[in-house]
């Protein structure tokens, strides 16, 4: 008989690996592994890795959207976890010094992304950057929207033709 206790994420090898670091709450570790799996499996990012940061008592995740993109840094937090601006400032300070901590990280984006995880495993990502970052140009937003629409239309067409091929056979 299968054990349905909700501890499956704690049996994941990555969870066991990061629990060996010896810091960070269980909630934070769970959220981190959840985001890690989301980036690896759903978003299909490249070079996703988890890094400990003792000074901030957190773990952050690094990865790239494509192999040629800049590395992004992500911190997972639980939905109801209390955050202070001081925490974000500290995290921002340490991410600015990340190249000293991790020389292999290479070229990275400015700021970091906060991944807010809720109890049903929904993850929402928000980019946080020190300073004043103006919003995206509306023309650029429109272009991206059209590009996404064309991408989904193409994917749908491919799927339809694949289904028809299967039906014929």
């Amino acid at each position: 008989m299968m054990n349905y206790e909700s501890k499956h994420i704690e049996n994941h090898p990555k969870y066991k690996e990061i629990s060996d670091y010896g810091f960070g709450s269980a909630k934070h570790m769970q959220s981190t592994v959840l985001v890690y799996l989301d980036l690896c499996e759903c978003k299909q990012w490249f070079n996703v890795a988890i890094h400990p940061c003792k000074e901030c008592d957190i773990m952050f995740i690094s990865g790239q959207v494509t192999a040629l993109d800049r590395t992004q840094l992500i911190v997972a937090v639980d939905c109801i976890q209390a955050i202070q601006h001081i925490d974000m400032e500290q995290i921002n300070t340490y991410t600015n010094q990340i190249q000293i901590c991790l020389p292999n990280l290479g070229n990275q984006t400015r700021g970091l992304t906060l991944a807010v995880c809720s109890s049903d495993s929904t993850i929402v990502y928000y980019k946080m950057t020190s300073g004043l970052i103006p919003p995206e140009n509306p023309d650029l937003t429109q272009q991206k929207k059209l590009k996404r629409k064309r991408y989904f239309q193409k994917a749908k067409k491919c799927q339809l033709s694949a289904d028809m091929t299967v039906d014929k056979t």
Binding site: I83, I86, M88, E89, V116, Y126, M128, T129, I133, P134
Partner: protein
């Protein structure tokens, strides 16, 4: 009171600017937007287009005082029963205005006569000729040359009716013309820690060249514009938070969602332990 300074009228801790030229100067020269809160004189009974006075935010007032651009006066004195001297001054002013209007009206009528002199001559000639015709019909001997004779009219001979007092135009003041100039008021904003934070953020962003207005409609402290709000959409919703104020992930999403829906960046503003202003921009990212 300083020369060239804008007069700001304070009533119950609310600061108002009543002079239209000052309102324009505040916006164009000093990037202070304020908000018009008065009834429009020509379009009453509607709230779409409001008019003077311009109400200033407490932050705007404090900034203008700091920069030495304004003088504060007690606005409540403008609502008191006028004194005998003020009544007499008003009467004298109205009498002088009437004299000026009467002179202008007379001049206007004279100009109209000059402009229409040919038509008036033609009209008078036609009337004269009609009389001559009637006299001729009655048997009188009228020479044809009298019909053709032109009229020579002197403009000064025209009787111009003077302007009556009940027809004069009266000015209704928006700005108090007898504001006592020797008053001074104490302005106490900012006092609390929260007010100090708001003022510091306002001042810093203003000094960076932005236009700022109240951010209440978007759930923030200020809206920050790269140019005049009439010409640009705002870039940021500034939210002032104490440095150690606790937020949960849900609060971050609430603020971020609001910003992304209206295509603005949410700006978290705090003063850190080194007494420095820190800004953190919050932007939704399309990873989801």
């Amino acid at each position: 009171m300083g020369e060239g300074r804008i007069r700001v009228s304070v009533v119950k801790d609310c600061a108002y600017v009543w002079n239209a030229e000052d309102v324009c100067m505040l916006r164009e020269k000093h990037r202070i937007v304020g908000r018009l809160v008065g009834c429009h004189a020509r379009f009453a009974r509607q709230n779409i287009q409001l008019s003077l006075p311009l109400q200033l935010l407490p932050e705007e007032t404090s900034l203008l005082l700091l920069k030495g651009m304004v003088d504060l006066v007690d606005g409540t004195k403008s609502y008191r029963t006028p004194t005998e001297q003020q009544k007499q001054a008003l009467e004298r002013m109205r009498e002088k205005t009437f004299q000026d209007q009467e002179h202008l009206a007379r001049q206007q009528k004279r100009d109209d006569i000059v402009k229409n002199l040919d038509k008036i001559k033609a009209g008078k000639k036609a009337k004269r000729n009609k009389d001559l015709e009637e006299r001729r019909s009655a048997g009188e001997d009228i020479d044809q040359s009298q019909f053709d004779e032109d009229l020579d009219l002197d403009i000064d001979s025209f009787q111009i009716e003077p302007l009556r007092k009940e027809n004069m135009m009266i000015q209704i003041f928006t700005e108090d013309p007898w504001q006592e100039m020797d008053q001074s008021l104490d302005w106490t904003f900012p006092v609390t820690e929260e007010e100090n934070l708001r003022f510091r953020v306002f001042r810093d962003l203003w000094e960076k060249g932005y236009y700022l207005t109240s951010g209440g409609k978007f759930g923030g402290t200020f809206l920050v514009y790269p140019g005049d709000p009439l010409r640009y959409h705002s870039f940021y919703i500034a939210v002032c938070l104490p440095y150690k104020h606790k937020m949960c992930g849900q609060d971050i999403i609430t603020m971020g969602r609001l910003g992304s829906d209206v295509k603005k960046t949410v700006l978290l503003c705090s003063v850190n332990d080194n007494n420095e202003l820190t800004y953190t921009s919050l932007v939704w990212t399309a990873i989801s």
